[in-house]
Amino acid sequence: MRQPSKQMIKRMFVILLVLVITTVSTTGISLINIMIVNGEKYQQMATEQQLYDARITAERGDIYDCNYKKLATSAPVWTVFVTPNEIEAIKDKTERQKVKDKITDGLSEILNIEKSKITEDLNKTSTYYVAIKKKVEKTVADKVRKFLNSDKELALSTYVGLDESTKRYYTNDSLASTVLGFVGDDNQGLSGAELQYDETLTGTPGRIVAAKNAHGTDMPFTYEKKVDAKPGNSLVLTIDTYVQYVTEKYLNTAVVNNKVGQRGAAIVMNVNTGEILAMATKGDFNPNDPFTLSAEDQKTVDGTKEDEKKKVKSDLQNKQWRNKTISDPYEPGSVFKVITESIGLEEGVCNLKQTFTCTGSIFVAGQKYSCHKHGGHGTQTLVEATQNSCNPYFISLGQSIGVNVFSKYFAAFGLTEKTGIDLPGEAEPQYHKANKMGPTELASTSFGQTFKVTPIQLITALSATVNGGKLVQPHIVKKIIDSDKNVVKNIDTNVKRQVISKETSKTVSNILESVVSSGGGKNAYVAGYKIGGKTGTSQKVAEMLASGKKGLYVASFAGFAPMDNPELAVLVLLDEPHGSNYYGGTISAPVGGQILSDILPYLGYEPKYSAEQMQSMAISVPNVVGKTVSEAKSALVSAGLNYRIIGSGEKIIKQLPTATQTIYKNGIVILYTDEKSDSKAEVPKLTGMTISQVNSTATNAGFNVSFKGNTLTSSAVVSYSQSIEAGTKAEKGTVIEVYFRSQETGDIGLVN
């Protein structure tokens, strides 16, 4: 064999060298590319391929009222999903269709979804995951599980699954809905406290990282690293569920009865701490179903053109979510006179003895301002002017105070800024700045017109007039607690500044008490308690001019109790009432009175009755069940009550009113002696009547009445509401609560 020549060997060596260099350099470049240039990318790809990484959602904190009654909480729910690509992978066409049909029929029935919708989802064959229905509750989820196990042959659980998630529940439905707000699909706060404290409530999500095997299946225990989620903290609100319930109940009745066009609002606040005990807006929404409109609003949407429907619906949704007490500024009207009065007293511009004569109108810089009493109130003191809500008096007082001093106090009362309440969406006030305030602006501002503040700004300022002069910051959250109920943070009282002196505050309190006991606020009277307050009926001048409509008013009432040492403030406003009356003293003051009447005993304020009040008190009905007819008769007669016997038995087997219920002297007690005896009667109409008319109508029909509202301060009161609707069948002897109010109130601010 011929030996390779040296040249040949050299050539081969060169070729080999080139090959080796090429291979090494290519490999090197690739390695540089993989490890350095695109290192991060490939690392991530490898991690994704080899690691199972899941986020553990933190449990959202709860929301409690001040007595730890749960208002909002989260519970597990499920998302029902299908895997269309898995179904598509079934080779046998007949079997594939069978699976599709089975799933469509089953899920449609259980989840109450149109079959066509499910079919559409199943036909998204390139998709791995299609959610059929979200937030499915346990009972329905159990039905789905049962359905999936019903046909082992088709292995339905391969194509349909359930993913666990959580849903927010609001235990009292619409109660305090505009305060609590609501959450979105991903449990993020969208309004109210849920939005304001979203970060606090959300907590810190956890994480599970586990290895995947060669088949891409998780290896949960072998290479698993789990960081537990930290549950969100919970909120303890200053809201008291009972106070909130009572406030909403009476506010809602007033909104309906007075055909209020732009919703009603009410706040109950502790004047010393700034804690909000109740904050209500009616109409509102159910946070369990926040996107659904009220029947009336839905009708409006249905009645609009197709292309406008979406916008109208969205507007109405935003309106129902809006917390009117903090987001909608309004002209406070005569209620504001309390502030003007406080400034005057503090600055010594007026005093209790000084008098002023109201002739029915007053001119300021050529502009005529009328009093609601066209003939004029005549000569009156500050107390009388407040009781009468006399416009010329307060315009004159405002002029005496002057623009600079007035503006200084206006700002000191917090009316030029947001209160800083811990809720989202607080609106800025709209007012005349000192450098732009002339005599006419000062005149109208003095009696509460031509500027706008929100209800929360007004009640905060008014609280300062009765609490010793301190301007406190209102707040809705009392404390933040962790999942073990340990206190994380206490929200204490924040006194911003001293606005007026204690002495002035005491004087103002006394004047306000007289407004309820003998002035325009009589309809807020509550027997046994010293209540103070001021009514207001403001004209919506700008809205009337813009819309060309007439008679747009805001009827309001601000009340305080107990006046010996004021602790509670109540503000009620009805925006655009269209009923038979629109005066704050007539339609808003009774609501304030009803709220205070219910919440004062509940909050532990003991009523103190005068001798006159004690005499008019109702009598507690004695227990006569089990007694003979003659024994029962004599017991009732000696208690000052009348009776009516139903049946022919010898012994009393039932009585109405039952023992310990209270009725007025000479009230009727129905005594039943026979099991089968029936004495139902139709409840008569008891509204629009005087006290004696109500008494006789009810007695003639066989019913008892309980007089509520303004019944002791004036003889000229008329009933406006009854606890059992007229026409309803009720057992004779039943006690019907009838509410009274006076009609003589005038507190409107007129600008001519």
């Binding site: 519970a75 597990p76 009292n172 005993p601 109702a618 209270t662």
Partner: protein
């Protein structure tokens, strides 16, 4: 030169001469074994057995250890699976409890209580029917919900 050897002085060739030479058996004389050597031999033999035994035991031990660790591993996996299952059951039970509590809270709302009480012909106590007790700092009772009640003093 005749190198051939003749057998028994015969002319026949002694072919054995051409055959491979037979090994001559060494005359081994069995010498009496010394006690030392005997002991060494026995020791070596014992060592051999011990070595073989230890190899077998070692192998068995390693095998046993491997099997045991496999068993342990399976037990751990099984226990973990049980824990996971129980945890899931706890989560589900807790969720169910929450749901029931929510239903209960809803049923006990003031709105429901009010309407049910009215339907049953009940009325709220009048203000003068409520007995007020005055609290002092010493005689207080606190409920689980944190609400404080006072004893009569």
């Amino acid at each position: 030169m005749n190198n051939l050897k003749y057998y028994d002085d015969s002319l026949a060739y002694n072919f054995e001469l051409f055959m491979p030479a037979k090994e001559k058996k060494a005359k081994i004389v069995d010498m009496p074994e010394s006690p030392r050597a005997k002991a060494a031999r026995k020791k070596a033999s014992k060592n051999m057995v011990a070595k073989k035994t230890s190899v077998v035991i070692g192998t068995l031990l390693i095998l046993g250890f491997l099997l045991f660790s496999l068993f342990l591993r399976s037990q751990v996996t099984e226990t973990r699976a049980k824990i996971e299952k129980i945890n899931n059951e706890i989560t589900e039970a807790t969720g169910e409890e929450t749901q029931i509590n929510i239903e209960l809270e809803k049923k006990l709302s003031y709105k429901n209580l009010d309407s049910t009480a009215y339907a049953m012909g009940m009325r709220k106590a009048e203000k003068n029917q409520i007995v007020y007790i005055k609290a002092n700092e010493k005689n207080k009772a606190e409920t689980g919900s944190g609400v404080q009640f006072a004893e009569n003093n």
